[in-house]
C-alpha cells in the first residue's frame, strides 16, 4: 500500500531497496498491455496480408472503393490529437493545471492541461465520428463486411471494371477492411471514454500536479500507440 505524502514526487518514485524497472507501475503495466495489443493487431493485420497477397485475383485499387481524401483528413485529425496529447503532458509536467491563461505581450494565450486534453478528446471523438460517417456511406454504396452487395452502386462498378474494383476479391476486402478499421475505431473510442473519465474525475478537480500526473502519461502512451496503429492501417489498407 502506498503511503506517499502529498509532496512526494510520484513521477520519480524513490528507488526501492530492490530496484524494479525504474518506472512507476501504471506506466510499466501500460507498456506490457501495449505489447499484448501489438500482438492483437498483428493477428488482424497479418491475416489481412496473408489473405490479400495469397489471392491470385486483383485486389481493389487504392481509392476505387474507399474515400482516401476523407480518411487522409481523419488521419490528420488523429495526428493532431497526438500532438495535443504531448502538449497536455508537457503542460502538466510544468504544473500548468489551468485552461487558458493570457501571456503578456502576445495575442495567443497559453494553454494548460485542461485545454490540451480537451483538444485531444475532441479530435479523438471527431475521428470516431468521421469513421462512422465513412462506414455509413460505404455500406450505403454497397461495400459491406460480406463483400459488394448485389445490385448496389459498388457492385455495378465492379461489373464494368472488375480489375480496378477487385470484383472477385470483394468479399475478402470487406471482411478485412471492416474488421481492422473497426477494431481500431473501438480502441479510439475506449481512449476517448477513458480520457473523458479522467477529465471529469481528475483534470477538472485539479488532482494532477507537476509531482503526479501518472494518469496523463499512461493514457498518453495508449493514445500514441493507437495513433501509430492507424498510420500503419491507413498506409496498408487505404494507400497500397
Amino acid at each position: 500500500m502506498t503511503h506517499a505524502t502529498a509532496t512526494a514526487d510520484m513521477m520519480h518514485p524513490p528507488v526501492p531497496a530492490e530496484p524494479g524497472s525504474g518506472v512507476y507501475s501504471n506506466k510499466l503495466g501500460m507498456w506490457v498491455f501495449l505489447a499484448s495489443d501489438v500482438m492483437f493487431f498483428t493477428a488482424l493485420i497479418g491475416s489481412y496480408i496473408i489473405l490479400r497477397f495469397g489471392m491470385t485475383d486483383a485486389w481493389a485499387a487504392p481509392g476505387a472503393v474507399l474515400n482516401v481524401p476523407l480518411t487522409a483528413f481523419n488521419t490528420f485529425l488523429l495526428i493532431c490529437s497526438s500532438v495535443s496529447m504531448v502538449k497536455a503532458y508537457a503542460a502538466i509536467a510544468d504544473g500548468k493545471k489551468y485552461f487558458l491563461r493570457p501571456v503578456p505581450g502576445k495575442v495567443l494565450r497559453d494553454g494548460g492541461l485542461k485545454f490540451w486534453l480537451l483538444v485531444t478528446i475532441i479530435c479523438g471523438a471527431m475521428f470516431v465520428g468521421v469513421q462512422v460517417f465513412e462506414y455509413i456511406k460505404l455500406v450505403g454504396h454497397g461495400f459491406t463486411p460480406t463483400g459488394y452487395r448485389e445490385g448496389s452502386l459498388v457492385a455495378e462498378h465492379a461489373l464494368s471494371d472488375p480489375i480496378r474494383y477487385g470484383a472477385v476479391t470483394g468479399a475478402m476486402y470487406g471482411s478485412t477492411f471492416f474488421t481492422m478499421t473497426g477494431f481500431h475505431g473501438f480502441h479510439v473510442t475506449c481512449g476517448v471514454v477513458s480520457m473523458l473519465y479522467l477529465y471529469f474525475t481528475k483534470v477538472l478537480p485539479e488532482k494532477y500536479s507537476a509531482q503526479d500526473y501518472r494518469g496523463i502519461e499512461t493514457i498518453g502512451l495508449y493514445w500514441h500507440f493507437v495513433d501509430l496503429v492507424w498510420i500503419i492501417l491507413f498506409t496498408i489498407v487505404y494507400l497500397i
Partner: protein, 588 residues
C-alpha cells in the same frame, strides 16, 4: 508507518477499515481471496470436464449401449440412453475446451499466480488489485458463456476444441450456430481476462519485490509464473484476434476462413497454433515451477542447478514461439516448413531434459520426505517424462504421418496435461492449503488418493498409446464401425472401466478438500518447514499480508545449510549474524 518497529505479523493492518461480507469475499481485491475464488470456480469446471470425459468413455467402451443416467439428458443429446453422434462431438469439444481454458489454465495461473506471487516476493498485494478482480470476474463470465452452449438450441460447439475452420465457421457444415458463436465470444472474454491478469503479474514481479529479493533469489515457481505471464500476454491476443474473425464469419458474414469466398482455412490453424503452442507452456511451466519448490522441500536439499532451471524455463518459453507448425504437419502446409518445425520442436527436448535431470539431481541422496505434495511432485516428473518422450515421436514428421489424429496424440496430451499439470496441482493444492485456509488436508486420505490416482491414471492413458498405434482415430464416435478396430475393443472397455475408477478416486480428493476446510488439523506456522517468504506469515495469511514487508537475505532453497544449526532449513527472511541488510530499505 514509523510505529511498526518490530515486525511481528499481526492480524491485518490497522488502517484497513472492516469490510462487508461482499467486499471481503465476493468483490474482493485481495490477491489471496481472488486466488481462492479462482480455485473453487476452476475445480468446478474440472469436475464438469471430468463428467464430460466419463460420457465420452462410456460411448467408446460400450458403443450403442444405454448410458447409466443417460435418461436425464434431453432427446437432442441422448435417445433411449444412447449418446447421439451430434452430442458426442459436443462432448469432446467441450471436454477439451473446459479442461484447457477453464480448469488447468486458471488452476495453475489464476489460482497460484494470484495467490503465490505477492506472498513469495514479499509485497502487500498485486500492482493493480482492481484489475485483478476484473480478471477473475471476466474469467467466470467466460466460463458461464461457454457453459451456456449446452442450453441453447442445437447444443454446444461441435468443431473440436481446436475449432478448425471452415467446419467451425459455417453453421451449415457444423450444424450448430449459437453454440459456435458462444464459444468464440467466451474465448474473447477469457483472453481479456488472461491479459489483464498477466499484466498484473508481470508488473508486480518487476516492481514490487521485497528488499533483498533479487531476480536470482526468486523461487522457481515465481520465475515460472513470470515467464508464463509473458507468454500469456503475447499469445492470448492472437487467439482473441482469431476468435473475433471466427465470430464475424459466424455472425456478420465475413469470409476469413471460408475458402469458397477466397478465405483460407489454414489461416485459422496457423493463428490457433501460434497461440496454441505457447499455450502448451502456459499449461506446464507453472506446474514445473511449483514442482521445483516442492521437490527441493521434500528432498531437504537446495534445488540442483537453480540457474540452469531458470534458463531452461526461458529457453522453453522462447522455443515455444517457433514450433507451432508441428501441430500442422498433415494439414497441407508446405512439407519443407515441416522439417524446420521438426528441428525446432526437437530442440525443446534439451531444456526439458535439463529440468528433469535437475529434479532427479535434487532428489539424489536427499533426505527424502514423502509427504503428499512430494509424492505428487515425483509423479509429475515421471509422467511428464513419459509425455515428453511420446512428444518426440510426433515431433518427427515421418512418425507423425501414421499417428497424427489418433489416440496416440490423446495419450500424449493427457500424459502432459493430466500426468503433468494435474499431478502438479495435486501437489500444490495440499502444499499451500494451510496458507489459504489455515488447516491441513488429511495426509492419509491424500496418500490413498495419490496411489489410486497414480495407478488408475496409468491404466487409463497408457493403453491409449497402443490403440492409437492400432489406428483408432481421435474424436471417433464408434470404434466398432471399423473392422480393423474391432480387435481393440476389449482394450477400449478396459480403459473405460479404469477411467470410471479414476473418476471415482477423485471423490476422495473432493471429500478431503471440503472436509478439511472445517475439520482439518489446525496448521502449524510452517507445516512443511519451507523457506519461502509466505511462511513468515500466520496461516491463513492476513489481509495486506505483512505490516512491513520482510527483508530477504538469501535464495529460497537453503535446505540442510550448515549455518542453520540444528534446523535443516533456513527461511529467506531469517537474518543471521553474518547477513548484511539489503541496501537502502525504504517504506513502500
Amino acid at each position: 508507518m514509523t510505529s511498526v518497529a518490530h515486525a511481528t505479523p499481526a492480524h491485518g493492518e490497522a488502517h484497513h477499515a472492516p469490510m462487508s461480507f461482499w467486499r471481503k469475499y465476493i468483490f474482493s481485491t485481495d490477491h489471496k481471496i481472488i486466488g481462492i475464488q479462482f480455485l473453487f470456480v476452476s475445480l468446478f469446471f474440472l469436475l464438469l470436464g471430468g463428467l464430460l470425459a466419463m460420457q465420452i468413455r462410456w460411448q467408446l467402451g460400450f458403443p450403442g449401449k444405454p448410458m447409466p443416467g443417460g435418461g436425464i439428458l434431453p432427446e437432442s443429446m441422448v435417445v433411449n440412453g444412447v449418446i447421439l453422434p451430434e452430442y458426442y462431438i459436443q462432448l469432446v469439444t467441450m471436454h477439451g475446451t473446459f479442461m484447457v481454458f477453464f480448469a488447468i489454465m486458471p488452476l495453475l495461473v489464476g489460482v497460484y499466480a494470484n495467490f503465490l506471487i505477492p506472498l513469495k516476493i514479499g509485497t502487500h498485494d498485486m500492482a493493480f488489485p482492481r484489475i485483478n478482480m476484473w480478471s477473475f470476474w471476466l474469467a467466470l463470465l467466460a466460463g458461464l458463456i461457454m457453459l451456456a452452449g449446452f442450453f441453447v438450441p442445437e447444443g454446444a460447439a461441435r468443431a473440436g476444441w481446436t475449432m478448425y475452420a471452415p467446419l467451425s465457421a459455417r453453421p451449415d457444415l457444423s450444424g450448430a450456430s449459437v453454440g459456435q458463436q458462444l464459444w468464440s465470444v467466451s474465448i474473447v472474454v477469457l483472453g481479456l481476462s488472461s491479459v489483464l491478469g498477466s499484466v498484473n503479474y508481470i508488473t508486480t514481479i518487476i516492481n514490487h519485490r521485497a528488499p533483498g529479493m533479487t531476480w536470482f533469489r526468486m523461487p522457481l515457481s515465481v520465475w515460472a509464473l513470470f515467464i508464463t505471464a509473458i507468454l500469456a500476454v503475447l499469445a492470448l491476443p492472437v487467439l482473441q484476434g482469431a476468435a473475433i474473425m471466427l465470430l464475424f464469419d459466424q455472425t456478420i458474414g465475413t469470409h476469413f476462413f471460408d475458402p469458397v469466398a477466397g478465405g483460407q482455412a489454414l489461416l485459422w490453424q496457423h493463428l490457433f497454433w501460434f497461440f496454441g503452442h505457447p499455450e502448451v507452456y502456459i499449461l506446464i511451466l507453472p506446474a514445473m515451477g511449483m514442482v521445483s519448490d516442492i521437490i527441493a522441500n521434500g528432498s531437504r536439499k537446495p534445488i540442483f542447478g537453480y540457474h540452469s532451471m531458470v534458463f531452461a524455463i526461458v529457453g522453453i518459453a522462447f522455443l515455444g514461439w517457433i514450433v507451432w507448425g508441428h501441430h500442422m504437419f498433415m494439414s497441407g502446409m508446405n512439407p519443407t516448413l515441416g522439417s524446420t518445425f521438426m528441428v525446432s520442436t526437437l530442440l525443446i527436448a534439451v531444456p526439458s531434459a535439463i529440468k528433469v535431470f535437475n529434479w532427479m539431481g535434487t532428489m539424489w541422496r536427499g533426505n527424502l520426505r514423502f509427504h503428499v505434495p512430494m509424492l505428487n511432485a515425483v509423479a509429475f516428473v515421471s509422467m511428464f517424462t513419459i509425455g515428453g518422450l511420446s512428444g518426440i515421436f510426433m515431433a518427427a514428421t515421418p512418425v507423425d504421418i501414421p499417428i497424427h489424429d489418433t489416440y496416440f496424440i490423446v495419450a500424449h496430451l493427457h500424459y502432459v496435461l493430466f500426468g503433468g499439470s494435474l499431478f502438479a496441482l495435486f501437489a500444490a493444492i495440499p502444499f499451500w492449503y494451510p496458507k489459504m485456509f489455515g488447516r491441513m488436508m488429511d495426509e492419509r486420505l491424500g496418500k490413498i488418493h495419490f496411489w489410486l490416482t497414480f495407478v488408475t491414471y496409468n491404466l487409463v492413458f497408457f493403453p491409449m498409446h497402443i490403440i492409437g498405434m492400432g489406428g483408432q482415430m481421435r474424436r471417433l464416435y464408434d470404434p466398432t464401425l471399423y473392422n480393423f478396430l474391432k480387435p481393440q475393443q476389449p482394450l477400449n472397455e478396459f480403459i473405460t472401466i479404469a477411467a470410471f475408477a479414476l473418476f471415482a478416486t477423485q471423490v476422495i480428493f473432493a471429500f478431503n478438500f471440503l472436509w478439511s476446510l472445517k475439520k482439518g488439523k489446525k496448521a502449524p506456522a510452517n507445516p512443511w518447514e519451507d523457506n519461502g517468504l509466505e511462511w513468515s506469515l500466520p496461516n491463513p495469511a492476513p489481509h495486506g499480508n505483512w505490516e512491513r514487508v520482510p527483508n530477504v537475505y538469501r535464495g529460497p532453497y537453503e535446505f540442510s545449510a550448515p549455518e542453520a544449526g540444528n534446523a535443516d532449513f533456513l527461511p529467506q527472511h531469517v537474518k543471521l549474524a553474518t547477513d548484511k541488510e539489503p541496501a537502502g530499505r525504504l517504506e513502500r
